[in-house]
Symmetry: D2
Subunit: 342 residues, 4 copies
């Protein structure tokens, strides 16, 4: 049984952490903070948690986070980097669901996120929390940079191809589609139902913060810089990311077997049968990533379809998976969830 | 550990049973039948179940259902009534998620369902599976008539008022709204996304099959016939029923306290704080019914808001709850699910 | 050809006015104001208007509204009441799409809208712009209080019954469902796609600002106070209101004929054949109200189904209809639109 | 004034033709056929047309189509090819909204559509009805093959690049997303709201019938075979196609200017300002195609975003545009429609 705290619990990654941790047999949820909603019952804001979470939001200044074994930051970018040092020095392990520790290149981070990094020294120590790449490092990590949602779906789809060195690394394309919850629980006009409903659009074509994160991850796998075009789109659904990935094959390979071998021991990556078209709803509410690999018309273009629930494998679920690994619980503890279909 | 079979597993109540039973610690799912899809892997039709359900659909003639302890019928109306007798005689307990055994009045049933009843003698024995009313009878039942979705939401909202005798029984109104999954997994034009999306309509105003079921249930509680106007509506969402119920108060009563007392021992009925407006998503994927009671503007009209997930408390979840009661498992075994929000 | 101005053009009623006026053959759209977005091209904010509206938003202080023949206020409540007097004194006719002039009882208005009325003397002069009731007064009106969306759908459904005196005026029920655009183009969390999508809820059961407006209108028709319970709901679609209305019949009447006679000369009220269930999408984008009247199971409860597009007949379309009447254009000028289905 | 008939009017392209033709000042709609629904009033099936279309569906055998000046086929594939010859010989001009005359290579057509072509001689005569390419030929055509929805969006996006010869023709990628109405008004499970709602998936990755149509069109423009990977996706909205197109630049060019020049005289192609992200709703219900062109991060990959309403520019609207050109009406007659936003 470990003592867990959550900083910033009123967004979608926060409530999703609560959904998962509420039934975790090894977790004692001690505290959840909110600056704006301190004093409010958690289940008043999120009635789905009635009877399951008996806590009030606590002001950050009154949250005794150093008594926790682990603290999740489900905060906007720029918060965790101010508080992680003190916690880690106090022996608390930290998982940041925001982007503060994701980019090893501080200058790049500061350019994309538009602020000065408050804690560059911890960046070097932080482990990028993609278990399918960094499982061993995660076990002993004091600080986890939990991956972004797009980066998770895109990297898991490209990794087998890059590791095997079978595609041209200079011309990768990731055409990704996200549900609206990816924009967070923020009062902004473009995310209104009447704006985002019954419509589809690309955004951030000129540049999106997840681009350098994906590039860094893929370069790590490939051992070299990669050329990547990344186009995110907003699709009128609540949860889910569908990444459609394109690469140019440079030599013959049994693609189906390549993917199946790569992920045969990963509990949360499901390589579907050849010819499959994974739907985002097939992972709704669960920590699964489902992948299918195609080579249409026998051309030299490989097409990978990769779906996740952006709030689970793309955020809170992956964070819990990381926690499970860090504390030597089974990977799927509290994550043994059947996707909600329909 | 009990042996369980499902007849007719390719509809929404079937796949929902699978979702719930897949993680039930006391259930060994033996067999699932489908006439049309015999030989198909279950997880090929429903990829959400990959890794969780390792079965093929079996032709009904080849399903050795008599070896089960319990069989669920997730079939269209008119199937269970043909097969229940043989199973019960063989010592198998039966839960019918369709309507075959819901109406005690055979003539009424035959009128509303447009067929001759194949097994009227079993109707008298069948227990209407609303645990909040019939918990004791369910324990020893051989045959459960699992309630309809609308009837569950409507009855749970009216029961405290009728039991207490505080409203006029002759002028009840139930204005109910259902998500599209209530129409089942059937290839019909009105249920297409392009037809039912971004639109709202009433249907069946002249008469709906759930009307006599609700009337029978409420009459049983009230001890007398009730006058009920029931108007169902189709709303552009997948899951959920919201029943808005109207009654005329005939004497003063503390409504909030009345409801809280009535359901204080029921694990799956949540009376929300005074002034609440339950959302259907607050029960998405879970077996909860959430209820709020209002008396707007201090008039003599009481307004009850009652929400359920039509596929869970309105179908498969209630069926599992009934099974749990029948076999003396804890009510919430395999039903301890946090609603999926957002 | 008349000169028209719009105050506050960045909300949904504003852009809807622009959609309708852009093709109006008698309207010269002179100016559209926005405090926050002055200097922005209208078609930059609303690309649907590219090639159709060649204007910039103008700061209110620089908009020469007194040169217009007519000014629409598509502003939040409380703005028109501050500016209408000066415009009317300058000979400009005014249509307020907000609520400032809807309630004749100033005290009631101030209670429901939470502010002091800036211009009570004009309230008495204002004509409530429901053409089906006030066509003659609208013709010569200087100031129109354009009705609310719910009040339009509810009143049009009850009017024939109340005028004919065939229902109990003390026990009316209006169970109304609205699409999300009814909440306006405002950055608020409950209207986010991820909050309002795939869910259904009631709101404002204790009291909604449209309640006194509906009561006032129905009392005017009935010649007496009415008892009304009004429960609005939020439904996951963009446009559309569906009002389900309940009344107790006090004497026999041919309901179908009553409705058909009442509206036989109204171009924008369509009484559907007996037994119909109007869908909101059957009026999507158009100024039609479609109504069906039922008497389920031969009981004494009459059920009226009334649907409108909340942004058209419930707002901008009705405003244009009022303008057409005021300036002696045909009612359907620029409103001869085929609903968008599917 | 021309006499017009529609064969097969009960699908989405049929009702969309009716929406557009109902207000066309030069069209006298004479007859609309339906085998299954002969005798039914059109406005009973589509209440949105009440008061606008006063016709019954007529059995094909009783429809005197030879008296028409023009006949639209809004039928499934394989019907028009059986009837076009007789009509054309009788002097009736024909626009086929299905695929019967789209592919010049008969063998390819028969492979992709799985039937023997009934009228190969007419294929050679048929004009592919993309006005932006074939305006002159359309003027005098007797038979128009109206383009598919995906092919319209994809070709309009690639044409300027291919005509200018600035991209590698061997590595084109079209990642396209369609609303559900693209599947037609057919009773099929995958198109149900409860299946297609709140989910996203690719389909037909191995091969889609629109692939050879797009390749043929692009080859015609490029003067050479092109290498194209085409991946269609289903997105949970009713109308709209968003094509995201990728090409590798082979020489420097002012992309924005290239596109603006190419389409400066086309009334239904709108090249948006540099940096734009067109939304499908910005063309909802209208015949516009909106395009934006990007070159992200200054790389050699050009990204084109192209949106249309699949039922308008992707089907019925383009058919009406073709008719307007054929009969020398202004292109935008009856197509001067403001998109419905929100």
């Amino acid at each position: 049984m470990i003592k867990v705290g959550i900083v910033g619990g009123t967004g979608y990654t926060g409530v999703e952490l609560l959904r998962l941790l509420a039934l975790h047999p090894q977790v004692n949820l001690q505290v959840i903070t909110s600056r704006a909603d301190a004093g409010t019952r958690v289940d008043q804001m999120f009635p789905s948690l009635r009877g399951l979470v008996d806590l009030l939001f606590v002001h950050p200044d009154e949250a005794f986070l150093t008594q926790c074994d682990l603290v999740f930051f489900a905060t906007p970018n720029g918060i965790a980097m101010q508080q992680a040092r003190a916690l880690i020095d106090a022996g608390v392990r930290v998982i940041d669901l925001a982007a503060d520790f994701r980019l090893q290149d501080i200058a790049s981070w500061e350019k994309w996120y538009g602020m000065t990094h408050a804690c560059p020294d911890l960046v070097a120590e932080a482990v990028y929390g993609l278990p399918e790449i960094n499982r061993e490092k995660i076990k002993s990590a004091r600080l986890i940079a939990n991956p972004g949602c797009y980066p998770t779906a895109v990297q898991l789809g490209f990794i087998p191809l890059l590791e095997a060195g079978v595609i041209d690394m200079g011309s990768l394309i990731a055409d990704a589609k996200s549900g609206v919850s990816g924009a967070g629980r923020k009062a902004e006009i473009p995310a209104l139902f009447a704006e985002a409903g019954d419509s589809f659009k690309a955004y951030g074509v000129a540049g999106h913060r997840h681009l350098p994160e994906i590039r860094q991850g893929l370069a790590g796998v490939a051992g070299n810089e990669v050329g990547l075009t990344f186009v995110p789109h907003l699709t009128p659904m609540i949860r889910g990311i569908h990444a459609t990935l394109y690469g140019r094959l440079t030599r013959e390979v049994d693609l189906q077997s390549l993917f199946e071998q790569r992920y045969r021991n990963e509990p949360f990556v499901d390589v579907m049968p050849a010819g499959s078209h994974p739907e985002t709803r097939s992972v709704r509410g669960s920590n699964q990533c489902r992948i299918a690999v195609h080579r249409p018309q026998g051309s030299d273009t490989v097409v990978v379809l990769s779906v996740i629930d952006n709030l689970v494998k793309g955020a809170a679920g992956q964070a819990v998976q990381n926690m499970n690994i860090m504390f030597d619980f089974a990977d799927n503890t509290a994550l043994n969830i059947v996707p909600l279909l329909p």
